[in-house]
């Protein structure tokens, strides 16, 4: 009996040892990302919070300012702040639903077994792996009123295209189109994964029950897609409030201040005017605003998101 127990113990220890390895391996895989996120995303928030309470030009020692930077934001001390916030909200209101809708249409189009469909999926996904600066440069040429492909195409059907990037409304529309184009492939892939998880038997039984394509989509596919749509809603909302690169390359916030968005103002205050404290206060405020929006979305999701 004692011999059996002695043999049994190392075997149990071996099993225990073996069972710990997958967890260690898992941590080894996610470790770099976790460390990177902590080092470069979470930890910098602490000095940002401190900087927001100071006046700092990025070179000399920061001077304690208390809540002066926040007070300046809320008292209208920065004439461009409110304009940049309004522009960002306008951009988000269009970019988020249109981006998701385009992604959904594309996902439905490529969710089929057809020859060469993988190529189409890859083509639609390509903007996601392309530098935003390159995308901005190319679309700037496309929208050029002198040499632009878009106005040339319009001229072929007798339409004189607008001066896209020279007029306030069309410049914002141009940036939105480019933003949606840049993100549509990502949205497509997420929704495609959702579509492919729709149980075939559900679709078949709906078909047998006489449901048409529209009803099958509305009553079978859409409920299954809601977790993916919810994920995209949160990520796109955050992304839309952080839009900067495209606008920096395409319009520099112009014409006038018509495409002047929140992060552009944050960058301008921090790195052009060297008001790091004010820029940090804007960053903290954006973090809080996005936190509140995400929380509201999370609460509302209980009404329309269905987990299987």
């Amino acid at each position: 009996m004692a011999v059996t127990a002695a043999r049994a113990r190392p075997a149990a220890q071996r099993r225990k040892k073996k069972s710990a390895w997958p967890a260690v391996r898992g941590w080894l895989f996610i470790g770099p990302v976790v460390i990177g996120t902590l080092l470069f995303n979470v930890l910098p928030m602490i000095p940002t919070l401190y900087t927001s309470l100071t006046n700092w030009d990025g070179i000399s020692s920061p001077q304690w300012a208390g809540f002066a930077n926040y007070s300046r934001i809320f008292s209208g001390g920065d004439p461009e702040f409110m304009k940049s916030l309004i522009n960002t909200i306008i951009y988000a209101v269009v970019y988020v639903p249109v981006g998701i809708a385009v992604g959904l249409v594309l996902a439905l189009l490529v969710n089929r077994k057809a020859r060469g469909i993988v190529l189409f999926r890859a083509l639609f996904f390509m903007p996601v792996v392309t530098s935003l600066v390159a995308i901005g440069m190319v679309w700037r040429w496309i929208f050029d009123d002198q040499y632009g492909v878009l106005n040339w195409l319009l001229s072929l059907v007798g339409i004189t295209g607008p001066h896209w990037l020279g007029e306030p409304v069309s410049a914002m529309i141009a940036v939105m189109i480019t933003g949606v184009w840049a993100i549509m492939g990502y949205n497509m892939v997420i929704l495609l994964a959702g579509l492919q998880s729709v149980p075939a038997e559900l679709l078949d039984s709906a078909k047998v029950d006489g449901a048409g394509a529209l009803n099958r989509f509305r009553h079978v596919m859409l409920p299954v897609l809601t977790p993916a749509l919810f994920f995209l809603l949160i990520m796109s909302t955050i992304g839309s409030f952080q839009v900067f690169g495209l606008i920096f390359v395409m319009t520099s916030g112009g014409p006038g201040d018509s495409t002047y968005v929140y992060i552009y103002e944050l960058w301008y205050q921090s790195f052009q005017l060297r008001k790091m404290g004010f820029g940090s206060a804007m960053a903290v405020l954006l973090f809080l605003v996005l936190g509140v929006i995400t929380w509201i979305q999370w609460r509302l999701s209980k009404r329309w998101v269905f987990y299987q």
Partner: protein
């Protein structure tokens, strides 16, 4: 046979080795420099932002300076790769105390770097009998353009010399002759007439623009209309006369009427395709002009009182973190010497501030442009009035530039959507608000400089 569910030690070590080898290769790629100093020599690091052709020119300048004087002094300039073309990164290097021993900075930042005690005062070395510099060798602008309350904290080997580049064929077709000197600059009326002649429109769209300019054109326009950035006491923005507004309005009307492209339109492709007759640019624009375009340069017109321009300085400083500041000064002095300045002239990067280089064959022997004097005259006076704007430095200078030249107001002007009246009124408000926050007046700068402890020797002053 199923795949193993764990990584073998051998494979793990192989992977680690591959990562280490890759890292070593990457670090080797990133650490390029022009070579380390031989034993017994003093090493001085050098860094400037700029694209690949600029960096190649800097290396050539360094080689020329080495040969001319530095080798004999056993000083070796080590070129450091620059972090992109963004000034904010250069400033981050100052913040972290890792700026190169000779660093090129945005000329508007010299003042604040000096007050923050980040850079060396140069007057004591410049006035030293053994290693000093001869004031007469350089244009006055070298000494006066970028001082901190009269003290030298940077050297500016060259100036941008912004002028009008024009398409000779379009001028010929329109029967227009361009002036070849600042003393012959067009009047405002003549300029407008010629812009009209050069502009070609069809179907409500412009086929050929008569003139193009960036936002900073407002500086020569405002100064040319008799304006100044501030009042004499520097307690208020100086742009407030009807003449200032009229001059800016003329610029807005050129855009509104389609004689000039809006700010979103890239002017280089227009100029290179013969769709832009004139454009206001710095000297390094030369390298970007298509070989198919016949071009020359001419002065910006009187707008309407004076014909003026803005010279953007290429400013180099010696950070307080420099290992051997005196050696860095000698190296910087050599980069402002004849051999290095000839390299600048040869590359048509900017107008050398050294008179002998700006008048020498390296500057004059280029086939284009023919009217090279239009560039060099930007460093002098015309009709008793300086061609280059003497712009105030310091925090209020920055505030003025931020309000009038950068940001949304400048965007507004270049879009033709903002009236001259609103532009001036809003920019003035911004500037005056900044002056008020800083409690600034004309004596404040000197007071702050003295109290900052930035001066190594207050009695040592080149401009005394």
């Amino acid at each position: 046979m199923s795949a193993p569910d764990h990584i073998s030690r051998r494979r793990f070590l192989e992977g680690g080795l591959a990562v280490a080898a890759g890292s070593a290769a990457l670090s080797a790629c990133g650490g390029g420099s022009s070579g380390s100093a031989p034993a017994g020599w003093t090493s001085v690091s050098f860094m400037s932002i700029g694209d690949a052709p600029d960096q190649a020119m800097f290396k050539e300048m360094i080689a020329a300076a080495q040969k001319e004087s530095l080798d004999a002094r056993k000083i070796k300039i080590e070129w450091r790769p620059a972090p992109g073309t963004d000034w904010s990164r250069t400033m981050a290097l100052f913040s972290s105390g890792t700026a190169a021993d000779i660093t090129r900075v945005d000329d508007d930042r010299v003042y604040s770097l000096a007050l923050d005690k980040k850079i060396h005062q140069l007057d004591p070395w410049m006035l030293d009998k053994k290693i000093g510099m001869n004031k007469d060798d350089y244009f006055d602008m070298f000494w006066t353009d970028n001082t901190v309350e009269g003290y030298q904290f940077c050297m500016e080997p060259a100036m941008s010399a912004n002028v009008l580049y024009y398409n000779q064929d379009l001028f010929k077709k329109a029967g227009i002759t361009a002036p070849t000197s600042w003393s012959q600059a067009w009047g405002w009326g003549e300029f407008m007439t010629n812009v009209n002649k050069l502009t070609k429109k069809s179907g409500g769209k412009t086929d050929v623009y008569g003139i193009g300019f960036p936002a900073n054109i407002v500086e020569p326009v405002l100064y040319g209309s008799g304006g100044t950035a501030f009042n004499a006491n520097q307690t208020e923005c100086g742009v407030n006369t009807p003449a200032n507004e009229k001059a800016i309005d003329a610029i807005v009307q050129l855009i509104k009427s389609g004689h000039a492209p809006t700010g979103d339109v890239e002017q280089l492709p227009l100029f290179n395709s013969g769709k832009l007759a004139m454009t206001w640019e710095a000297m390094d624009f030369v390298t970007q002009i298509s070989s198919s375009i016949k071009w020359d340069i001419m002065p910006w017109p009187k707008s309407p009182q004076y014909a003026m321009t803005k010279n953007y300085a290429r400013a180099f400083v010696i950070p307080k973190t420099a290992k051997d500041p005196k050696a860095a000064y000698l190296a910087l002095k050599a980069l402002c010497g004849k051999a290095a300045q000839d390299v600048i002239a040869k590359h048509q990067w900017a107008v050398p501030n050294l008179k002998s280089a700006a008048q020498g064959s390296a500057f004059t022997d280029h086939p284009s442009p023919k009217s090279k004097q239009v560039w060099s005259e930007t460093l002098t006076s015309s009709g008793g009035h300086p061609v280059g704007i003497s712009f105030p430095r310091g925090p209020i200078g920055e505030a003025w530039a931020n309000a009038f030249v950068e940001g949304t107001l400048a965007n507004g002007i270049l879009s033709g959507k903002l009236s001259a009246k609103d532009y001036i009124s809003r920019a003035r408000k911004q500037v005056n608000s900044e002056i008020s926050q800083l409690h600034w007046n004309s004596k404040e700068g000197a007071k702050r400089l003295t109290s900052s402890g930035a001066l190594a020797d207050a009695n040592s002053k080149v401009l005394a």
